[in-house]
């Protein structure tokens, strides 16, 4: 009984059929490339402030006269909306805040792509951790059932009940505050609901006919679990995995709101949204750009998730 297609060329054809998927893949690739090179596309750095040009709208352009310090920072001599005359030893440039500037006169465009690195890595890493740990833990718990299930699920409940903040404060003390600790903190709890979700799937699926059939054919427990049961619950698993991406991004934002996120002046999409919320009446673009990008990213990830599910689905025989 061959339930799981090993014909990978066939799989690729199925993937290619979907225009929507291609658009989504293109979006993710573009976002990733921009996250890498975006901060270098502008003459600004993510931390460079021009305090007098705070909260400027998108597309604001101005002339800047400056000279360079030997540590790479610049001394701003003059800032003006009108062209400035140059003098020896100085540089004059026309610059533009493509996405506007923030409350400290920093270029939002640069900061957003810098933040994309942080947020995308938090989101993706968490999704990965959750997917792996959740599947294995939940799968084993549901498959073996009985007292093993009982113990494993009680452990999940205990870990789920301990106040998250308490645990994060503790982690920040044990490790240095920073991206790794945040990843550890978020990854450390987000697999819990995932494990329960998968266990719920496995509990019901393991009584299905094809599992019983595989069992009678002498397949090993691991093979049944990972080759038959888990692929069949891929739908909910992928939905849940994609869901953890924005949740992780916002948890980081929430932690930085409480003073435990990435340290300033480093930006993340979450912390940019926090900053944007405060000025949303007067400077809505500070909220709009990071929120919009998160939504776009999520839309793309969801489409990819759905397509993956369809592509891997053992019974997918449409068209």
């Amino acid at each position: 009984m061959q339930l799981y297609s090993s014909n990978y060329s066939n799989l690729w054809i199925r993937l290619k059929e979907k225009k929507l998927l291609l658009i989504a893949l293109f979006t993710i690739v573009t976002l990733s490339i921009l996250a890498i090179i975006g901060p270098y596309l502008t003459p600004f750095t993510y931390s460079e402030q021009i305090l007098t040009l705070k909260n400027k709208p998108p597309g604001y352009d101005f002339y800047l006269k400056y000279n360079k310090n030997n540590n790479g920072t610049i001394n701003i001599i003059e800032v003006s909306e009108e062209p400035i005359e140059n003098a020896a030893g100085f540089k004059v440039e026309k610059r533009i805040f493509l996405f506007g500037s923030d409350a400290l006169g920093r270029d939002l465009f640069t900061r957003i792509w810098y933040g994309a690195r942080i947020s995308l890595s938090i989101g993706l890493a968490t999704a990965f951790i959750v997917f792996i740990i959740g599947s294995i833990y939940g799968g084993l718990s549901g498959y073996y059932g009985g007292w093993i299930d009982e113990v494993m699920m009680r452990i999940v409940e205990v870990l789920n009940s301990i106040p998250f903040l308490l645990y994060v404060i503790l982690l920040m003390l044990i490790f240095e505050p920073g991206l790794k600790t945040i990843l550890f903190a978020i990854g450390g709890v987000y697999w819990l609901p995932m494990a329960r979700m998968i266990r719920g799937q496995v509990i019901t699926l393991k009584e299905q006919d094809y599992v019983l059939a595989a069992l009678s054919l002498g397949a090993s427990s691991w093979r049944i679990l990972f080759k038959h049961i888990l692929p069949n619950s891929l739908g909910p698993i992928l939905v849940y995995t994609t869901l953890t991406i924005p949740e992780a991004i916002f948890t980081e934002a929430w932690l930085s709101f409480l003073g435990m996120g990435v340290s300033v002046p480093i930006a993340s999409w979450g912390s940019l949204i926090n900053d944007g919320i405060e000025g949303m009446r007067s400077y809505p673009w500070q909220l709009f750009f990071p929120s919009f990008l998160i939504t776009i990213t999520m839309l793309a990830f969801n489409i990819i998730g759905d397509s993956l599910r369809d592509a891997f689905d053992p019974r997918f025989k449409r068209k």
């Binding site: 059932g145 009985g146 299930d149 009982e150 699920m153 009680r154 409940e157 205990v158 789920n160 009940s161 301990i162 106040p163 903040l165 308490l166 645990y167 404060i169 503790l170 003390l173 609901p193 329960r196 979700m197 719920g200 799937q201 509990i203 019901t204 009584e207 006919d209 069949n232 619950s233 739908g235 909910p236 992928l238 939905v239 849940y240 869901l243 924005p246 916002f250 934002a253 929430w254 409480l258 949204i273 919320i277 949303m280 009446r281 909220l287 929120s291 998160i294 939504t295 990213t297 999520m298 839309l299 969801n302 759905d306 599910r309 689905d313 019974r315 997918f316 025989k317």
Partner: protein, 306 residues
């Protein structure tokens, strides 16, 4: 079944013991006490306060006191809100959060499940794309942004509803919508994906071959199995939503319980941390038990115990 439930209650008590112990030691290890403030007090005054609240006792005495309090379900006075007890705080806050929470769950179930069914039935058609687009926006936009936007549009600009505070049903509209959007979106997606899977199972194909009407098939057969992931998701969610959301209650100035899960820790309000944790974990474990029982009711083949 009765024996199983009894056994579950037994293990729940054991879990509770571990939860209390872990929480106790964690809150004792993290820096800062309930009475530390910007202005450090003269040491003698600090001493007097610690004596009054038994913070001078050795850790095992304090630990024992906490265990006894939990057994009696009487958590004592709050350290921060000196004129209230932890039990009073929970008794005041929980009904508010639960009232809002039940509205949220109702919206989630009705809208989420129906959206999921429509999507699954019309898979890869316009209705599906539209529903899934909506739900993706729902779960990629954080609820606090939705909350602020709703408040801005409906309370500030249109003046249709009060911006914040608690009282009439009108106060409940904006927070309920803000809170319901994410779970609704998730339920819709879970429903869609598991229903699609269910529709391709052999028994469904057989039923179709037998000529049963499509709608009947869905409700009688597929829905029952497809709803399992939704139920798994809703169990812990109900525990979380009924005990209140910190951020939404903060934004809409709702006197619920959600606030304390965060502020108790920020204030190092030891008794309140313990009280809220025990309360939450009891509800969570109860919900998980109900979910497990539901599995067996929905699919009689499922065996939880041997």
């Amino acid at each position: 079944m009765a024996a199983y439930i009894l056994r579950r209650f037994g293990t729940m008590l054991l879990s509770l013991f571990f939860i209390i112990s872990l929480t106790f030691f964690m809150m004792k290890v993290i820096p800062g006490g309930p009475f530390s403030s910007e202005k450090r007090l003269p040491p003698e005054i600090e001493e007097n306060i610690n004596k009054k609240y038994h913070l001078n006792d050795p850790w095992y005495v304090q630990y024992k006191d906490y265990l006894i309090r939990t057994v009696k379900l009487d958590f004592g006075p709050s350290f921060k809100y000196k004129s209230r007890t932890v039990n009073e705080i929970i008794a005041d806050g929980f009904p508010v959060s639960a009232k809002l929470g039940s509205t949220v769950i109702l919206i989630t179930l009705v809208v989420g499940i129906n959206l999921g069914i429509v999507s699954a039935m019309k898979q890869n058609q316009t209705q599906d794309y539209f529903a899934m687009f909506l739900s993706t926006i729902g779960f990629s936009t954080p609820n606090f942004i939705i909350a602020y936007l709703l408040m801005y549009i409906f309370a500030y600009k249109l003046k249709l509803v009060p911006p914040a505070m608690w009282g009439t049903w009108k106060h409940m509209i904006l927070p309920a919508i803000s809170l319901a959007i994410l779970p609704t979106a998730v339920v819709a997606r879970l429903m869609r994906s598991s229903l699609i899977e269910e529709l391709q199972q052999d028994y469904m194909l057989t039923a179709k071959a037998k000529g049963l009407m499509e709608r009947q098939i869905i409700y009688r057969h597929a829905l029952r199995n497809a709803i399992i992931p939704v139920i798994t998701y809703l169990g812990p969610l109900i525990a979380t939503i009924f005990t209140g959301s910190f951020i939404i209650e903060h934004i809409f100035a709702i006197p619920g319980l959600g606030k304390y899960f965060v502020s108790a820790i920020q204030n190092r309000d030891y008794t309140l941390i313990l009280g809220t944790t025990v309360f939450y974990s009891l509800i969570l474990m109860l919900m998980n038990l109900i979910v497990d029982i539901l599995y067996t009711l929905i699919d009689p083949r499922v065996k939880l115990y041997k």
